[in-house]
């Protein structure tokens, strides 16, 4: 935009210099972790004097961490499997109803993304405690689904708004009932958005920490919960190895989504 202003070389250099610093600030903490994870030393030295895979070995050798990894992956998958179909149906409902009803439903479904995580976490803790469900996979799953529904809706609502509803009318006129129109026409045509929504819901669960900290425990502890606990207690480079792996998984998922969307 500023390129439209004639003769702005000096200010441009200043602006880009400043921006480069801000971008370095944004990327530094993510990137600094990577070399540390390959360090051979117990200490957090930078740059490491010798490299090794010992912290990755520690991670993969630990039954606690492996159990947490398994829990997190299962939770993420279940969250996506529940949240995306529910989100799709809700979004169809919002799209077709229009008016005040749509605004209300949308408002209710988006509340979990506005309410502070700590409040959802303790409230859910109380509710689950009353049913003796604290520490169960089900308890965390419900919490994650409720956070993933707004995420799915944010992806699917604009996709449905762009969708050519004449297609559904055409299918209906050719003899399809609503179930067949949704399954045979809407779902296949929104498959890219549905894939995005699925991966975003998966990531939401994978990344969620506050509800996990309060609700999950023991064998059902999630990765973020264990990471939080170890950050508070002691920080050795195992966390660096886990962080690197964790970031690699997320970046891979994001790349898949973006590349699929472009193709």
């Amino acid at each position: 935009m500023l390129e439209a202003y004639p003769d702005n070389r000096l200010s441009r250099i200043f602006l880009w210099g400043f921006s480069a610093l801000v971008m370095a600030f944004l990327m530094l903490p993510t990137l600094v972790v990577v070399p540390l994870s390959f360090s051979a030393s117990n200490l957090l030295e930078f740059p490491p004097r010798a490299y090794s895979l010992r912290w990755y070995e520690t991670f993969f050798g630990s039954a606690t961490w492996m159990a947490a990894l398994r829990t997190s992956l299962i939770l993420g998958t279940l969250t996506a499997m529940v949240a995306v179909p529910l989100g799709l149906l809700a979004c169809i409902s919002i799209n077709r109803l229009g008016g005040k009803a749509a605004v209300t439903i949308q408002g209710v479904l988006l509340t979990p993304s506005i309410v502070p995580g700590i409040l959802l976490a303790i409230g859910l803790f109380f509710v689950l405690a009353a049913q003796r469900l604290v520490g169960t996979l089900f308890g965390v799953l419900v919490g994650h689904v409720v956070l993933a529904i707004p995420v799915a809706c944010i992806v699917l609502l604009p996709a449905l708004a762009r969708f050519d509803w004449n297609q559904v009318q055409a299918a209906r006129s050719l003899g399809a009932n609503w179930a067949r129109a949704i399954g045979g026409i809407i779902v296949p045509q929104l498959h890219i958005s549905l894939l995005s929504a699925t991966l975003m819901a998966f990531l939401t669960s994978l990344d969620e920490s506050v509800i996990s900290i309060f609700i999950s425990s023991g064998r059902n502890s999630t990765m973020p919960k264990l990471m939080f606990l170890s950050l508070r207690d002691q920080i050795d480079p195992t966390i660096a190895a886990i962080s690197t792996l964790w970031t690699a998984i997320v970046v891979a998922v994001v790349l898949i989504v973006t590349l699929r969307r472009k193709s």
């Binding site: 935009m1 903490p29 957090l44 109803l97 979990p112 859910l124």
Partner: protein, 293 residues
């Protein structure tokens, strides 16, 4: 003249509406069960003693405690400071990104979004590594002789603030960048042709036209930072205690469900008040905007 409506057809229309409504019921049920019911439960819990009897005792205890008020102050201080720094750092960055060629801008945006896709715990760990007494930054500072003693960068307000700005900056940037990218470059050309300096162009054209984006970004920053838990809990090292960490400590250390609930309600009230303020501010500014137009 229109004929009176056929009741059978009106009933059909209602049935169709009910069908579409029913499609959102499963999602509404889950949200009700896992988001709305919990909030109501917090309200209920705030009036209960540990024995389960109704009481105002929790409120008296929490509201008379100095810790509560210092937590409230810390919460607001953290939010305001985070917002101020986000505006100072984010606005120029958005301006630079919006001025870049689309290709370059897309690549740079991907890098800016990288932290957004990184787990909050990974980032918090990264900051610990960087900011500790024996961390990389202090090692660099003392090693180069810039400072004799390591600086206290973490387990305090500064560290918490750094972590929170780092979390919020990409989220603040998105709406500001979007607003700036939508500004017509011909407006810049027009104002420069009328003799505006670059500073004047930024002040009189770009900033007013991206005010909406800056406003949305600020709202997002406030909504998120008010209840932020992980960053103060880890980077604050127990010395920075906004409402969120007080709630956690009251619940897990003292097992005091009632007081934790009161603190939760306090957090909700603060959020609602700030939300109302933002709404009022937006209404006021759009009204003024309409009056100018």
């Amino acid at each position: 003249m229109t004929a009176t409506a056929d009741p059978a057809l009106a009933a059909d229309a209602l049935r169709e509406r009910r069908f579409f409504l029913s499609l959102s019921l499963p999602a509404l049920f889950i949200v009700g069960l896992a988001a709305i019911l919990p909030i109501l439960w917090i309200i209920r819990q705030s009036f209960l003693t540990t024995g389960g009897e109704y009481t105002f005792g929790n409120y008296e205890k929490v509201l008379s405690s100095g810790l509560t008020w210092s937590a409230l102050v810390t919460t607001l201080e953290l939010s305001l400071a985070t917002l101020a720094i986000c505006i100072l750092l984010g606005t120029p960055l958005a301006l630079a990104l919006a001025s870049a060629r689309p290709r370059v801008a897309n690549v740079l945006m991907a890098f800016v979004m990288l932290p957004l896709w990184t787990s909050i715990l990974v980032r918090t760990y990264g900051w610990l590594v960087l900011l500790r007494r024996d961390g990389l930054i202090n090692a660099a500072l003392t090693g180069s002789g810039l400072t004799a003693e390591p600086l206290p960068l973490v387990y305090n307000f500064t560290g918490t603030l750094i972590g929170m700005v780092h979390y919020m900056l990409p989220l603040f940037l998105l709406p500001v960048y979007a607003a700036m990218r939508d500004i017509d470059a011909n407006l810049i050309r027009a104002s420069s042709s009328m003799g505006a300096s670059l500073g004047q162009v930024i002040r009189t054209v770009i900033l007013p036209l991206s005010a909406g984006g800056i406003f949305s970004g600020s709202t997002i920053v406030f909504i998120y930072t008010i209840g932020f838990f992980i960053t103060p809990a880890v980077l604050g090292g127990g010395k920075v205690n906004p409402l969120s960490t007080r709630i956690e400590r009251t619940l897990s250390t003292f097992q005091d469900w009632g007081s934790a609930s009161v603190l939760g309600i306090l957090l909700l009230i603060v959020m609602a008040m700030i939300g109302v303020m933002f709404l009022a501010a937006r209404r006021l500014s759009t009204r003024n905007g309409a009056a100018h137009a």
